[in-house]
């Protein structure tokens, strides 16, 4: 099934923000499965909106989006069984005294039915996932007391510990230091290689994951480009999205993009 059904199948999609502005319009594309894909574009280009729509969290105003053949509106339950989701970091409420282990175990327990008890197997998998982002020593630490980069690593570990063939990560590298970035990128790359999973990653900066991703979707409220990383790193395409100040730099056989853009999108 995985060989034939596309990971994402989008037909003439249009989505509005809650304030009524058009976030996405005339979006149509298809991504094969499995894939490590990146959705890139500047702030406000509709990247997060696209993934949230695919999970059935937002209702499209026109068109359809299918994940592994399941319609995002009619079959969202089926999609959510497959998906492990890492929301933008500031979506996690820090007023609740959660420990690092509680957050990582969430990934496992959310896929169970109440009363959602953690078995010793769950705990072993959660510890292993933390180890992959080099955080296993902080198992008992209060989550709200961690630095931004550490919190992000814990959230990635939550996704690694969970079950389902699709990992969806919304800006997992935003506001993290180089060490955290490298750890997250390496862990995701390794996980994709060793397991039969797809990874969909929203990011404003393609460079850290450039050598790992297979498909890149360049978005500015509609599809500007779709292809391999180096073909997307086309000066004309990039300027169209990021403005005339964007530059492409070639280094050891790969093209990298330099923009002034950084930070997290916020649309509440």
């Amino acid at each position: 099934m995985a060989a034939t059904t596309p990971l994402l199948q989008v037909r003439d999609l249009a989505v509005r923000y809650s304030n009524g502005d058009l976030a996405l319009h005339h979006v149509s594309f298809e991504i094969k499965s499995p894939s490590f894909m990146a959705i890139i574009g500047p702030n406000g280009s509709g990247k997060s909106t696209l993934v949230k729509t695919s999970l059935g969290l937002i209702k499209p105003s026109r068109g359809t989006i299918k994940v592994m053949g399941y319609d995002s509106q009619k079959k969202s339950g089926k999609i959510r069984k497959l998906v492990r989701y890492v929301p933008q970091r500031d979506r996690i409420d820090l007023a609740i005294p959660m420990k690092v282990k509680d957050i990582v175990l969430m990934g496992r327990l959310l896929k169970k039915l109440p009363p959602r008890f953690a078995t010793s197997k769950d705990i072993a998998i959660a510890k292993d996932a933390l180890q992959q982002v080099n955080m296993e020593e902080l198992w008992e630490r209060p989550f709200p007391e961690l630095s931004g980069g550490q919190r992000q690593r814990v959230l990635v570990a939550r996704a690694l510990a969970s079950e389902g063939s699709i990992l969806v990560l919304d800006e997992p590298l935003a506001g993290t230091d180089v060490e955290s970035q490298n750890l997250i990128v390496e862990a995701l790359g390794r996980y994709h290689k060793e397991n039969d999973v797809s990874i969909i990653m929203v990011t404003h900066d393609l460079n850290p994951i450039h050598t790992l991703v297979e498909d890149v979707l360049l978005l500015k409220n509609t599809v500007i480009g779709l292809g391999e990383p180096c073909s997307i790193m086309d000066p004309e395409l990039i300027k169209k999205v990021y403005g005339p100040t964007a530059r492409i730099v070639e280094h050891s056989g790969h093209r990298y993009c330099m923009t002034h853009d950084s930070g997290i999108d916020r649309h509440d």
């Binding site: 969290l57 890492v86 929301p87 979506r91 409420d93 990934g107 896929k111």
Partner: protein
């Protein structure tokens, strides 16, 4: 000690008061904790006042003969559930500020509704509306205990079963939904069951005690305790000690037990803030140089000297 036990055995009202204190402490632990987690501490007073509007409606329907069987307490419960549902609807996206606004609006709406109906209710029954807010833990009757007890039991069972879900909804509503949990259902369940318990607790022991016990111990515990289970347990202890101390004091001094319990609960929060401040101060002392880079210090000194110059001019 034996004297105290003797007194308790001989006075049923005291037994009911102690049982009531225990039940209210359970309500605070099960419901107050999660309301404070969600930043909804205002909901306790919002629901209690909304219930006032419901009581007015109940009295009006009874008195006008429209629906003679409609007990005012049914109105109170109905309104508190409506407030919870409205609050839940406003906060479906998981944004706390929107829920606080919804609580505020429904507070105002149901109070206005109560005042509106007061003109159509015979004057001798109006005190009954306000009486809804004034309960006394020493005046509990058997019916109060039965109603409060059954709601507390319901709340306790639901919280025991779904505490993880309530935590997940509070921590990461979007992520929980995306992983396949029916976050919306738990979001509403938590608010509605809390509202029912708050409404009945208010009727039984009075508004002041409910506000104080629902919010302050949970806020205090959340400042200091570092695990969800620890907070729930600590809320129960603080609430129970405050209430029992209130009841005990009322035997020695002529004073309302609710007032003493309320003051003690509020003090627990102030104390927790102070302890946390002291702890933070110790931490800051350790990293002192890192927190005050040189350029910051210079600006600070400059601004100080400017202030002095201003003083000379005057």
């Amino acid at each position: 000690m034996i004297d105290i036990i003797q007194i308790i055995i001989e006075s049923p009202f005291l037994q009911r008061a102690i049982l009531g204190a225990l039940l209210i402490a359970i309500v605070a632990a099960a419901s107050g904790t999660f309301l404070v987690f969600r930043g909804l501490s205002f909901m306790a007073s919002g629901v209690a006042h909304a219930a006032l509007g419901g009581t007015a409606l109940g009295i009006f329907l009874q008195d006008s003969g429209l629906v003679p069987w409609f007990d005012p307490i049914l109105g109170a419960l109905l309104f508190s559930v409506l407030v919870a549902a409205f609050t839940g609807y406003a906060g479906e996206s998981g944004i706390t500020q929107k829920m606080e606004v919804a609580v505020g609006v429904s507070f105002a709406l149901s109070m206005s509704f109560a005042v509106f109906l007061m003109y159509y209710i015979p004057p001798y029954r109006v005190p009954q509306i306000w009486g809804y807010l004034i309960g006394d833990i020493l005046l509990l009757n058997d019916l109060d205990i039965i109603m409060l007890g059954s709601t507390t039991l319901l709340l306790a069972v639901i919280t025991l079963m779904f505490n993880k879900e309530f935590v997940y909804v509070s921590v990461d509503m979007e992520g929980s939904t995306a992983h396949g949990m029916n976050a919306r259902a738990y979001h509403y369940l938590m608010l509605i069951v809390s509202a029912l318990a708050i409404a009945l607790a208010t009727k039984a022991v009075g508004a002041i005690l409910v506000y104080a016990i629902m919010v302050a111990p949970a806020a205090a515990s959340n400042e200091l305790v570092k695990s969800v289970r620890g907070v729930i347990f600590s809320v129960f202890l603080i609430a129970l000690i405050a209430e029992l101390a209130g009841i005990a004091t009322s035997f020695v001094v002529f004073v309302s037990p609710s007032a003493i319990a309320g003051i003690l609960a509020a003090l627990s929060y102030i104390l927790a803030l102070q302890i946390k401040r002291l702890k933070e101060k110790v931490d800051v002392d350790i990293d002192d140089p890192a927190l005050y880079p040189d350029d910051l210090k210079v600006t600070w000194i400059q601004s100080l000297s400017h202030e002095h110059e201003d003083e000379h001019e005057h």
